[in-house]
């Protein structure tokens, strides 16, 4: 589903954020990418969603080499990727329903299709009663669940979450993780970059640990601080 081949990233200021990483993620996997700040996980995530291009190496997502992709093709790549951010990134002047519907509108989905799918995903994330609320009327957890609903409404094969629980209290963080697990069980490949060691320990998923731009650990069912 995701293949990262000998990927390096050197920023224009000379700092080498990712050093010759090779990683393969199968369809339907749930992968935690962990590491301290500055370990290169954000850079890696940004390269996955083609916000950044690797300096060398190639990234293949869903059979498509994204490093050779033209700029005009990027939107179509992103429609195959559900993306969730630490800071939610909701449109503040649109309601929960509109925020989720927006991701469908972008793909030029029909109004009928939108009217059918949006309520479904909203009830999946438990926001069926909040569809008319605006983001500033929601708690952090509710905002992140809205963002999750938006990420999965187009039924993408891959979901990428960059520190999805970073702005949430521990209890709410668990709600979001359970939801991610739920989404994974429905067949979506899930990649989560996180700092939340307790969650990683508890969930016993595949863990890829980065340090100074290198993969220092990759275990099938691991915790945050396991020995390599």
């Amino acid at each position: 589903m995701i293949t990262i081949n000998n990927v390096s990233k050197v920023y224009p200021n000379g700092s080498q954020a990712v050093k010759n990483i090779t990683l393969h993620i199968e369809k339907g996997e749930f992968v935690f990418i962990i590491g301290s700040s500055g370990s290169g996980k954000s850079t890696l995530i940004k390269m996955l969603m083609k916000e950044l291009d690797p300096t060398s190496g190639e990234i293949i997502i869903n059979g498509i080499n994204t490093t050779k992709m033209s700029r005009s093709q990027v939107p179509y790549l992103r429609r195959n990727l559900g993306i969730v951010f630490q800071d939610f990134r909701l449109l503040p002047k649109k309601t929960v329903y509109e925020n989720v519907a927006f991701a469908m509108r972008v793909t030029e989905a029909s109004s009928r299709h939108i009217a059918r799918n949006v309520p479904t995903v909203l009830s999946l994330v438990g926001l069926q009663n909040k569809s008319r609320a605006y983001p500033n009327e929601l708690s952090g957890g509710e905002q992140q669940r809205t963002a999750l609903a938006r990420a999965i409404v187009n039924n993408p094969p891959i979901l990428i979450a960059d520190e999805p629980t970073g702005n949430l209290d521990p209890e709410t963080a668990w709600d979001i993780m359970y939801l991610l697990d739920e989404i994974n069980k429905r067949g979506t490949t899930v990649v989560v970059a996180t700092h939340a060691s307790d969650i990683v320990d508890e969930m016993q998923k595949r863990v890829v640990m980065l340090n100074h731009g290198n993969i220092v650990r990759d275990v099938e069912r691991g915790g945050y601080f396991d020995e390599a």
């Binding site: 005009s72 179509y76 429609r79 990134r89 002047k93 972008v106």
Partner: protein, 299 residues
């Protein structure tokens, strides 16, 4: 492009305008101010041009025939004059008509009374009107070729002055409007840039959920069109009656003007300015919008 998307673009564009109402008003005011200034300049230049043209056509060429000219020669010369290119009107002036003209002009019935009939020393003549003063030299050459002509008179000095004035007005007009146009684009682009800057996170989010560049652009294009149309309509609606009023005031207070030249009718001038102004407004709005969001699309 699907119909539902078109509806979405229009809806988004208009609600974008309403949400950022302060920026919308600022953009519309900028477009309106620019179009107003250009409209006023067009009125001034258009009228100046029209007056010069009018003066040009008043400066005709007078062709005097030989003293012994008979009706055959008069007809022949008349035909030949009519065949010259760029000649718009040939009027025959008999000696008697010329004398009557003189009497009226000099207000001297008595002094000239002895020259009536057989004693009239004035020759047969033609007044020749031409389409444009630039063609005068060529026409004069052609007239010289005709047999039976004694003399050709034209106001060379006045012609030169008019030609120069016409050129100056054209150049100044074109340069002035071009400068105003460039200033307008710069101001409008900046105004719209601020409104786009306020919405950069929105654009950023659109990019992440997989919106194509044109999907993001279209609502801004709609905004640009609305700003352009309203921004052009306001100054046009104001300046049309304003122009009519100014013209009638000018005729009232400077009645001497009526003898020299008349102003262009307001319909005559605004039937040209209105479509051009609306087009310019739309072009300014759309150009401003599209260039302003370019930077934020590169995510």
């Amino acid at each position: 492009m699907k119909l539902s998307s078109v509806r979405y673009y229009i809806h988004e564009g208009i609600s974008g305008l309403l949400r950022n109402s302060l920026m919308t008003v600022a953009s519309i005011a900028t477009v309106a101010a620019c179009i107003f200034i250009v409209t006023v300049s067009c009125c001034l230049i258009g009228n100046l041009h029209a007056m010069l043209k009018q003066l040009e056509s008043d400066i005709g060429i007078v062709v005097f025939l030989d003293d012994d000219a008979d009706s055959n020669l008069i007809n022949k010369v008349s035909d030949e004059l009519n065949q010259i290119e760029h000649v718009t009107l040939v009027t025959y002036i008999s000696p008697q008509e010329a004398l009557d003209g003189l009497k009226e002009e000099w207000d001297a019935d008595d002094i000239l009374s002895g020259f009536d009939g057989e004693n009239n020393p004035l020759p047969h003549s033609f007044e020749v009107s031409i389409d444009s003063i630039e063609n005068q030299a060529g026409i004069l050459d052609a007239i010289e070729q005709i047999d039976g002509i004694r003399n050709v008179k034209n106001a060379q000095a006045a012609t030169d002055v008019l030609l120069k004035l016409n050129k100056v007005v054209s150049i100044v007009g074109v340069i002035g409007i071009a400068i105003l146009g460039i200033i307008s684009v710069v101001i409008i682009t900046n105004t719209i840039k601020i409104s786009v800057y306020n919405r950069r996170t929105e654009i950023n989010i659109m990019k992440y959920v997989g919106a194509t560049d044109w999907f993001i652009r279209w609502p801004f294009v709609v905004e640009g069109i609305v700003i352009g149309v309203i921004g052009a309509a306001i100054p046009l609606i104001i300046s049309w009656p304003l122009y009519s009023k100014c013209v009638s005031l000018a005729y009232e207070h400077f009645s001497i003007l009526t003898n020299i030249a008349s102003f262009l009718g307001s319909y005559e001038i605004f039937s040209k300015i209105v479509p051009l102004g609306l087009l310019a407004g739309i072009a300014l709005g759309v150009l401003g919008s599209v260039t302003s969001i370019r930077k934020y699309l590169k995510v």
